[in-house]
């Protein structure tokens, strides 16, 4: 049996991993088919149905403008998933090549890159994202860039560490002896052999990205109204806790489940792919 098939089998045998995968799949389906799944428009206001409790045609109730909470939660999954994919994608696109080059080339390049990485790691992730989003200005794109930049040092450090171990192996020496260029050795040989920990780190980062996006939106620095986002829904809900507590349940529960799903998936991937490094 190939190592890939064995990993899939190990992943499938773990109940918690499958629960995580199921949550992520449901979230992805909700995001893609939001227009078909949502019972109503997430931005249509109904002044005859302000702050309606769950029931009466609104399964999860309505908000202060009479908007359907279920529709807003479903559409909110789109923002969260996009946030995760874009910011983690950005971090992978920047962090992986930098880590590969630093670990393989060593020397001055490695020193410079790693000192910058160390300095970036000195900033608490959320504070770095907050400061960047703050100076770039509110908005979804800026929030994604801010979160993505926050993830870059983690990927650089992880990939560099992996490359340091791989570059001593025979297959790299063979590739060098056969005259392969640096780019070919890095991307054609080493990268393929260190995909597993990168995949685990990406899954873990997705859960952080979802929390970070929701947090920035909660502070008014992420997605702007009227686009529904779980974070901005929570911010509004806080003002209506005594009159409409349900408004705080659903977006928070959605964030919790999404994060739990990616955490479980990351744990499952780590075990299935036999990634020993602490990520």
């Amino acid at each position: 049996m190939t190592p890939g098939r064995m990993a899939v089998r190990r992943f499938a045998r773990s109940r918690l991993s499958m629960v995580g995968l199921a949550i992520v799949v449901v979230m992805a389906l909700a995001a893609v088919f939001a227009a078909h799944l949502a019972p109503l428009s997430p931005i249509t206001q109904d002044y005859n149905a302000l702050l309606q409790p769950p029931g009466n045609g609104h399964a999860l109730g309505t908000d202060e403008l009479g908007r359907d909470e279920l529709a807003r939660v479903i559409y909110g999954s789109r923002v969260s998933l996009e946030a995760g994919v874009i910011s983690v994608g950005l971090a992978v696109a920047v962090g992986v090549p930098l880590g590969l080059a630093a670990g393989y080339l060593r020397g001055a390049f490695d020193e410079v890159v790693m000192r910058i990485v160390d300095a970036m790691l000195a900033f608490p992730f959320i504070i770095l994202a907050l400061a960047l989003a703050g100076v770039l200005g509110p908005g979804f794109t800026h929030a994604m860039v801010a979160i993505g930049i926050g993830f870059v040092p983690g990927f650089v450090r992880l990939v560099r560490g992996q490359v340091l171990a791989e570059r001593e192996k025979d297959y790299v020496a063979a590739a060098e002896a056969s005259g392969g260029g640096v780019a070919r050795i890095l991307f054609g040989h080493i990268l393929i052999n260190i995909l597993a920990p990168i995949l685990v780190q990406a899954a873990l980062s997705m859960s952080f990205a979802i929390v970070a996006e929701a947090g920035l939106s909660y502070l008014g620095l992420g997605v702007q109204p009227p686009t529904p986002s779980w974070g901005s829904m929570l911010r509004t809900a806080q003002g209506y806790l005594s009159r409409a507590s349900w408004m705080a349940y659903w977006p928070g529960l959605a964030i919790f489940l999404a994060v739990l799903g990616f955490n479980l998936m990351a744990d499952g991937l780590r075990d299935a792919l036999d990634v020993k490094q602490q990520l």
Binding site: R115, I116, D118, A119, M120, L121, A122, F123, P124, F125, I126, I127, L128, L130, A131, L132, A133, G134, V135, L136, G137, S207, V211, A214, G215, Y218, L219, G220, L221, G231, L234, A237, Q238, L241, S242, S245, A248, P251, G252, I255, F256, V259, L260, N263, L264
Partner: protein, 320 residues
């Protein structure tokens, strides 16, 4: 040997701090367009914009600006707030103790939750208590601090009227009220760290239980509590200290949201407030201090680590 280890570790901080300073300085220059126009608004006259540019030193070459700023920072001058002209250091000196107090309480509550949870979970592996702890730890890792904070307010303040929904009472005014005002915020920040520490402690204890010296102790007839508390726990604490140190950065991030939710006038709410008010000088100062806290905590973690396990110092010496 410890002094040499300490010196080397402190010297390693210098380049990192310098790059941190460059990054914080560059924050102002990431503002799209002219920072002076962004701060003053589109309606500002060219004269006012020019005056602010001069005041902020934006009309000078970049390197000149940086070294001028760094020179002031080293002397403890972080500039003045763009809102009311108060020295940023003065604002931070009022805000930071509140955040540090909240952080310390949050960390203490994490330890109080995590230590018994991790010990019980490992000592009774496979029991209902172990499964319960594992599931709660998983939930604690996934629950965002800002939602947990809102749920705590809803339950303990809005429904039960047991604790305040927000606000901060200074320790000097009433130590008891001060503690009461920080219970919910500390819990909402600390739960995640508690979950991480409990999981780490459980894993570390299970690893230690398999070690030869534990089997020897068992063979010598040492009681189970004796093995756990006198032998296993000390060895299992090392990875927990590392993880706890790493988590402090995350804890500081979580505090930002918690301070906003509970209306606590600390560093986190200052950062958010300065962003909303476009007070970039205060933002710069706040971010710099946050980074300094993390760098210092990392240093203290390394020191604690080396005190728990002196082999760390030796390894450092051998690498030289």
């Amino acid at each position: 040997m410890f002094a040499r280890f300490l010196l080397r570790r402190v010297l390693l901080m210098v380049p990192i701090l310098l790059i941190v300073a460059v990054m914080v300085f560059m924050l102002m220059h990431l503002i799209p367009g002219d920072p002076a126009v962004v701060i003053l608004g589109e309606m500002a006259t060219p004269q006012t914009v020019a005056a602010l540019r001069h005041e902020l030193g934006l009309d000078q070459p970049l390197a000149w600006q940086f070294f001028g700023w760094l020179g002031q920072v080293v002397q403890g001058n972080l500039g003045r707030s763009l809102i009311d002209g108060t020295p940023v250091v003065k604002i931070l000196s009022q805000r930071l103790p509140i955040t540090l107090e909240l952080g310390a309480l949050a960390f203490a509550s994490s330890a109080v939750i995590a230590l018994p949870a991790g010990i019980v979970s490992a000592a009774r592996r496979g029991s209902a208590a172990d499964y319960g702890t594992t599931i709660l730890a998983l939930a604690g890792l996934s629950i965002p601090s800002f939602w947990l904070g809102i749920m705590l307010i809803l339950f303990f303040a809005v429904q039960l009227h047991l604790l305040p929904a927000g606000g901060y009472v200074p320790f000097s005014r009433s130590p008891l009220q001060n503690l009461v005002s920080l219970i919910l915020p500390a819990l909402s920040v600390g739960v995640r760290t508690a979950a991480v520490m409990a999981r780490q402690l459980r894993a570390a204890l299970l690893e230690v239980f398999r070690a030869d010296f534990i089997r020897t102790a068992e063979a010598k007839g040492v009681s189970r509590p004796g093995i756990l508390f006198r032998h296993a726990l000390k060895n299992a604490l090392m990875p927990v200290v590392t993880v706890a140190g790493l988590e402090l950065g995350g804890l500081l991030g979580g505090i930002v949201f918690t301070e906003v939710i509970f209306d606590i006038p600390g560093l986190g709410s200052l950062l958010v407030q300065s962003i909303m008010q476009r007070d970039y000088i205060t933002l710069q100062g706040g971010v710099l201090v946050a980074a300094l806290i993390v760098v210092t905590v990392n240093l203290l973690t390394d020191i604690a680590y080396s005190l728990i396990d002196p082999r760390i110092q030796l390894a450092g010496e051998r690498r030289r």
